[in-house]
């Protein structure tokens, strides 16, 4: 029997809500539409709530964690982006990242919507592990944090000046240094990326007897880790500040996206155990 249902039907609704949130956050970029603040946050929260409901509903329906297929993982990524953004908005009173975050979550849901295979598939033996949920969730929160960091990098390239806040944020600051914010997001994402990578190594050892086999997906996970490790070290090299670092952050996220979605173009991916088919 088919094991998909309400969560699939809700995809266009979630997409519409995230798109509306993006529109509202977009209006906030102009000082004439300050009143859009609350509707924007509400729409983003509603989008997150529905998105979260999709995952919980699917989890309950299929009786297994819904993180196996590309469709399922895209729903999870959208949730992670929305959560990370809303936490940032709550802590830093910063809505300038709302537009890219809502667009990012919306684009992710749109890509999920375009997937032909939306059905749940059975978990193979290797995925029936206690590592499955933490490994995937930690990685996707890492991706979300890095996405927000990349959005900050793009904003920094457009407008490097600090952003003045209407009122103090929860850290007591009245202005946000976008470059510093970008670095903080990347740092946080890097911690999660490292944790996810190392959890994967532990898991692979338990499942197959090898913690590392140079599988293309594993190797690209290492590539993203190395790029961000280079980013974090570059900050201490003379001449590597500001715009250059922002570009490296964007390159790093391109590596993340390639690791996540681009593996199928690699000639070595055929033998991969980890590639979304």
């Amino acid at each position: 029997m088919s094991r998909s249902g309400l969560d699939v039907s809700l995809v266009p609704v979630v997409l519409a809500v995230y798109a509306s949130a993006a529109l509202a956050y977009g209006l906030l970029w102009s000082s004439r539409f300050r009143l859009a603040k609350i509707p924007a946050t509400v729409l983003m929260s509603v989008g997150l709530g529905l998105n979260l409901f999709q995952i919980v509903y699917r989890w309950v329906t299929i009786e297994q964690p819904p993180f196996k297929t590309l469709y399922e993982s895209l729903l999870l990524l959208a949730v992670c982006i929305a959560i990370v953004y809303l936490v940032i908005e709550g802590v830093y009173r910063l809505r300038i990242l709302g537009l890219p975050s809502a667009l990012g979550a919306g684009a992710t849901v749109l890509y999920a919507f375009l997937q032909v295979e939306k059905e749940a598939v059975n978990l193979p033996a290797a995925l029936q592990s206690g590592w499955f949920i933490p490994h995937v969730v930690v990685y996707f929160f890492g991706y979300a944090a890095l996405f927000v960091g990349t959005a900050a990098a793009a904003i920094y390239l457009l407008r490097p000046a600090p952003i003045r806040l209407g009122r103090r944020d929860l850290t007591g600051s009245r202005e946000i240094d976008v470059e510093g914010f970008m670095s903080s997001s990347v740092r946080f994402g890097f911690v999660l990326l490292t944790t996810g990578l190392l959890m994967g190594a532990f898991w692979a050892k338990a499942a197959w007897g090898d913690y590392w086999v140079w599988d293309p997906k594993e190797t690209w996970s290492l590539v993203t880790w190395l790029v961000y490790a280079a980013y974090l070290h570059l900050r201490f090299m003379s001449g590597w500040k500001g715009r250059k670092l922002a570009v490296v952050a964007i390159v790093g996220f391109a590596a993340v996206m390639f690791t996540y979605l681009g593996m199928n173009v690699l000639p070595t991916a055929e033998s991969s155990l980890h590639v979304y088919q």
Partner: protein
């Protein structure tokens, strides 16, 4: 580590430039390639030895930078610098990407056919096994040297530096553990069958041949379980072009909207049976109607059995045949006593059999045998019988044809069409109960169908039922053992089994109904009609048909349905069991220095189990490194910024990150 602490002009050695550092990496890479050529030759050596020497090359590069750092303080500062670390990171990044873009560990012929003239250059640079090349190890060695130098850069250990030290030390521990594992670790395969014992396993030796490595104890495979999910099938529509196939739609044939979805692609779905079977319906022929293929028929039932009616049709008529009744032997039926007498004569003369497989082509009826070729009137070539199945099904695991049971539920025959020169020009599947299957295949050859007449190539035992007299002739040891009446539902006994004749028609019409024996998708069949075609088609598991517009419709398994595979293993020492436990994926057995990982199963052999056997003396170091890295990265990235913020608040000055 703050920016002010890192960058003081007086600390910078005179040659501390990024270009020099890049030059060091490039030279090391080139030297390592040259060294690999000298040690192993371009043709390569055996994999095990190359890997070991590769680790040695990494250690050599590490020793080189470490030695330089010890000899001169300026070299130490250069190696411990962030610049050196970044160059090492970038180099490793680029090499890692290269290793995913270029095929790895492929046979020479594959490599050559893929990369053509470039393959020689790639092989010369050892890019074809990049991650085990001397050059890659040498760069890792340089990076390890930089990590080590960083650890000694600052003597004062502070709470803020704990994370930096831990992260770098964690990386070093992982690399050290990996190196130890590569050199002294053992990895091999152990393949067993249930109730087998093994005291050793096979590994690929340094000489490239398989070698036996003793475990130091004995393992016995007590039990093996291969667990499945309930099988499911999907109707999938693919766009086919020269670049390959793209999935357009995946439809659950059991879903209510499946016919509607298929209709949008010009396909009408008439029915779907997850566990398909044909059910025979026999009714007396209507004398007033324009008769189709009516023939005499008798319906038997086993006494004290819930099985349905068994129908036998006059063996002398087209479409008639025998039944295999197991211990009861063969059941055959003639309406006319004279025809039965003739068969009896043949039986008693040692014949009376013939092949149960009949190939019908036009007016010809050929009793065929497996592996033999036959000429068909009107066709210049030959038809060769490749395989026959009594209860054909596509095995969901192997995706290959197989027997579902011993009963003749779905007889099928695979034939090969040979031209007049004896060359194969195509193959075709013929299904006794689905004459329309395979007829529209593109394989050339004559029109033909397959009839299955039941078992009993040698009719030495069984019942010969005669319709016009209402008698059952008992055959034993290829001779008539007796005659009895089966009228009025009298019991007839043969081979310890009792039958009654429940129906007898001199002229009956048979029809086959499609039914599903269960809800499980064990033998899925879908009936479809494609726009522009006159007759419906029946598709079984794994079959595909063109539906126009460059599209193909296929009935395919939804996905892998193996849920788990697990072995019950007993460890024996000096013949005595010391430990029994289940080994499954994600739950290995560790004993006596070796770990057994469940790795293989054979869907065709339920008693087979395969294990990966691993001994990795570097594992503890790797694990310690991984844990240390996780903690340290968290400390550097999350704890230190908080410490900075608190310090900033206390001092009122600027902290890290410019906040």
């Amino acid at each position: 580590m703050t920016r002010s602490a890192m960058k003081t002009g007086s600390e910078r050695p005179s040659y501390h430039t990024v270009n020099v550092i890049i030059g060091i990496h490039a030279a090391t890479y080139a030297l390592a390639i040259a060294l690999q050529h000298v040690v192993t030759g371009t043709s390569g050596d055996d994999a095990g030895r190359v890997r070991m020497l590769s680790v040695a090359c990494g250690l050599l590069a590490f020793a080189g930078v470490a030695g330089g750092a010890v000899i001169r303080k300026s070299i130490f500062k250069a190696i411990a610098s962030t610049d050196f670390g970044v160059v090492s990171l970038v180099t490793l990044t680029l090499l890692s990407i290269l290793g995913t873009v270029i095929l790895q560990n492929q046979p020479g012929a594959v490599f050559t056919s893929t990369y053509g003239s470039l393959s020689g250059v790639l092989a010369f640079l050892f890019v074809d096994d990049l991650f085990h090349s001397f050059a890659f190890s040498a760069i890792v060695g340089l990076a390890a040297g930089a990590l080590t130098a960083t650890l000694f850069k600052r003597k004062k250990l502070t709470a803020r530096r704990l994370g930096v030290i831990g992260a770098h030390l964690g990386c070093l521990l992982c690399l050290a553990g990996a190196a130890v594992g590569s050199v002294w670790g053992v990895k091999g395969r152990l393949k067993m069958h249930v109730n087998e014992e093994a005291s050793s396993f096979k590994v690929l030796g340094d000489d490239g041949k398989m070698a036996e490595v003793p475990l130091g104890y004995t393992v016995r495979l007590d039990e093996f379980e291969l667990l499945h999910y309930e099988p499911e099938f999907r109707l999938r529509i693919f766009d086919i072009d020269e670049d390959g196939e793209d999935l357009v739609r995946s439809i659950d044939p059991l879903a209510e909207n499946a016919p509607g979805e298929l209709r949008t692609y010009g396909v009408a779905m008439n029915g779907y049976w997850p566990d398909h079977a044909m059910q025979l319906e026999v009714e007396p022929a209507d004398p007033g109607a324009a008769q189709q293929a009516a023939l005499p028929a008798v319906g038997l039932k086993r006494v004290r059995s819930d099985n349905g009616m068994m129908w036998l049709f006059d063996e002398g008529q087209p479409g008639g045949g025998r039944l295999d009744a197991g211990d009861a032997g063969v059941l055959a039926f003639f309406w006319q006593a004279a025809r039965a007498e003739k068969l009896l004569d043949e039986i008693e003369a040692g014949g009376g059999g013939g092949s149960p497989h009949v190939l019908v082509a036009g007016a010809a009826r050929l009793e065929v045998a497996l592996g033999k070729s036959y000429s068909i009137e009107g066709f210049e070539g030959l038809v060769k019988v490749l395989s026959v199945y009594r209860d054909f099904v596509i095995d969901p695991e192997t995706k290959r044809p197989s027997e579902r049971s011993n009963a003749a539920n779905n007889p099928a025959m695979e034939v090969e069409i040979l031209d007049s020169g004896g060359h194969s020009i195509g193959q075709r599947w013929l299904f006794a109960k689905f004459p329309s299957f395979g007829h529209k295949d593109k394989a050339p050859g004559p029109e033909m169908r397959y009839e299955y007449r039941g078992q009993g190539t040698a009719f030495s035992k069984g019942l010969l039922l005669v319709g016009e007299t209402g008698e059952a002739w008992t055959i034993e040891d290829a001779a008539l053992a007796g005659k009895s009446s089966f009228k009025d539902e009298r019991t007839v006994t043969i081979g310890g089994q009792e039958f009654v004749v429940a129906a007898l028609h001199e002229s009956a019409v048979a029809s086959h109904l499609h039914v599903s024996r269960s809800d499980e998708a064990l033998n899925p069949v879908v009936e479809i009609e494609i726009k522009g075609e006159q007759a419906p088609r029946f598709m079984g598991a794994g079959q595909a048909v063109e539906i126009g517009d460059g599209r193909v419709l296929a009935l395919t398994p939804k996905g892998d349905d193996v849920r788990d595979f697990l072995s019950t293993v007993t460890v024996l020492e000096e013949g005595k069991p010391v430990l029994t436990r289940k080994v499954e994926v994600n739950s290995p057995l560790s004993f006596g220095g070796f770990s057994l990982y469940q790795s293989e199963y054979d869907p065709r052999d339920p008693t087979f189990s395969g294990f990966e056997v691993v001994r990795d003396p570097g594992l503890f170091s790797v694990y310690a490194g991984l844990v240390l890295m996780m903690l340290a990265v968290g400390h550097v990235m999350l704890v230190v910024p908080v410490m900075n913020r608190l310090r900033k608040r206390r001092s009122g000055g600027a902290g890290e990150g410019g906040k």
